[in-house]
Amino acid sequence: MKTFHKLYRVSRIWILLLIVLTLPYWIPNNYYLQVANLGMIFSILTLSLNILAGYTGLFSVGFIAFYGIGAYTSAIVVTRLGWSVWVGFILAGVVSSLFSFLLGLPTMRLRGMYFAVATLAFGEIMYQVFLNWTSITGGTKGIKGVPSPEFFGISLRPYSKYFYLILAVLVIVILLTRNLINSRTGRAMLAIRENDIAAEAMGVDVPKFKMIAFLIATFFAGVAGALYGHEVRYVSPESFVNAESAAVLAMMVVGGIGSIPGSILGGFILTMLPEYLRFLGNIRLVIYGAAIVAIIIFAPKGLGGLIEWIDGFLSGTLKLGTHKKSTEKVEGENGHS
């Protein structure tokens, strides 16, 4: 049994990597591939919301706006100015962060529900901007013909190639998020979530660190938006309605608040669920709603908690009664030194 645990611990990351990297060859066709791509894009988006809401406790109910800003930014600079798609990706993150900076200036001192609603209002306003600022956003007609990126002359247009691009971004975002959380900045964010009064007493400049979380989260969200725009190659306001913000929130909670594997799973599964339930027709959205409630009731730590539990079980580190997160940290520390 011990050797099994050991074997599992050593090999789990490689097995996972192998499966993920060869996924496009397992997936039966482009349709499933496209759904998988969309799922990964939403994983990135969920992960970034998690930085803001899960780790810093800043609930945002208008998060989709930043995804939209990213999608539009990249689409605009690439189609109108003819810039490289890669520049578009970066700019998508930067512009999205810029907006969050402007939004953050007045809203960083709002707490709880009030911040959430301010972002909701922002989301609605941005939707109106996408819709009505016709000269820039194309208004209701949107922006057509958004090109796919090229990589050393290879077009990433086929879903199977685009898959690797999204995967790479996802992996980078995962690593960055993980490192962030196990750092001074990340702890300051957690502290704000837990108890902002005590955080202040620890010397945490609360508005500043909220802002940092906001900037990082929206940067990733912007990049996710650009990934979306260049995949579907058509950007229009309907993709960024506020109902989508609620969907991303649901992905985060169903996945497990503050859990990285959870965010990935939540984004992925809640994107795929309605697709795979297609055969059920109209009833599928009823089931989707019920499934969200059921997961929240029966899996308090979300799907991520489940995964962590299984992982703990297989690797033999599942100590009854110890707090999972903290044990992870000590291991992590050993790993670094």
Binding site: M113, I125, A246, L285, V286, I297
Partner: protein, 291 residues
């Protein structure tokens, strides 16, 4: 001037409706600590309940109304025990998302049963506008305003003065301590949800002659009520009415005097500004902190 007054009247009567919906949010927020994103869908359920009672079952309005209210209460109760009660000790985030899930569920369930298309509903208070000078006032609007205000006053009294009202507030502040007082937290929860479902449903019944009965009614009116509740300061009952009416007037003037293409945007822009300059809304209490 006439145009101004007409827009004002329109704004107030829509606003009274928003206010009525907003109270439902306030009630649950006070008792439960989260916004109930399914509250708007109770408005929709109310509209369908009265549709069933009056149009399908053919009951006269005076009987159909109470029956529809009872239907709303039952549905509210069922939702509460199946989706919200198991989460009684869960943190706010999980409960918030559960309300989103419930909203999706209800909306689509109704859509599966009734289809996505609107149903007409006969006018309750008559169609002929009352003329005051050159102003035209639709009876429905007068009634909406009167009933809205009446309910807000009743509810405020209920929460401020009655025992159960206070215990609901206590429950929201500290569930465990509330149980130690002998407060039956579960029963309180149910009562809160039943009242708020009835209120939401009631709003739905009042608007269906004007706006038809349609599954998406909830999303739209829910958003307005929610914005109204926040404008008023989310914890305050009279505030919800004031917030709702402000929103109604703003929308109406926004469309009338600015560009109607940004009607929805204007409402949210104002909500945004209010949050920034009056973080606790129009009537909400400023949070004092003590360590």
């Amino acid at each position: 001037m006439n145009f101004f007054l007409q827009q004002l009247i329109q704004g107030i009567s829509m606003g009274a409706l928003y206010g009525l919906i907003a109270i439902g949010y306030v009630l649950i927020y006070n008792a439960w600590g989260v916004l109930n994103f399914a509250q708007g869908d109770m408005v929709m359920i109310g509209a369908f309940a009265i549709l069933i009672a009056h149009v399908y079952m053919g009951l006269p309005l005076l009987i159909a109304f109470p029956i529809a209210i009872i239907m709303c209460c039952i549905i509210g109760f069922l939702v509460e025990i199946s989706a919200f009660r198991p989460l009684i000790d869960a943190n706010n985030t999980r409960r918030l998302i559960a309300t989103i899930g419930v909203g999706i569920f209800l909306r689509n369930l109704v859509r599966v049963i009734f289809g996505a298309d609107p149903y007409p509903f006969p006018s309750i208070f008559g169609n002929t506008a009352v003329n005051i000078g050159e102003l035209k006032i639709i009876p429905q609007n007068i009634w909406n305003t009167v009933i809205g205000f009446g309910l807000v006053i009743l509810l405020s009294i209920f929460l401020k003065q009655t025992h159960i009202g206070k215990s609901m507030r206590a429950t929201a502040q500290d569930r465990e301590a509330a149980r130690l007082m002998g407060i039956n937290v579960k029963k309180n929860m149910s009562i809160t949800f039943i009242i708020s479902s009835a209120l939401g449903g009631f709003a739905g019944m009042l608007i269906c002659p004007v706006f038809f009965v349609i599954p998406t009614l909830g999303t739209l009116m829910g958003n307005k009520g929610f914005a109204g509740a926040l404008l008023g300061g989310i914890t305050s009952n009279p505030g919800s009415m004031i917030g709702g009416i402000s929103l109604g007037i703003l929308e109406s003037f926004g469309a009338g005097y600015f560009s109607s293409s940004v009607q929805a945007g204007i409402a949210y822009a104002v909500l945004f500004l209010v949050l920034i300059f009056l973080p606790a809304g129009l009537l909400g209490k400023k949070e004092s902190r003590k360590v």
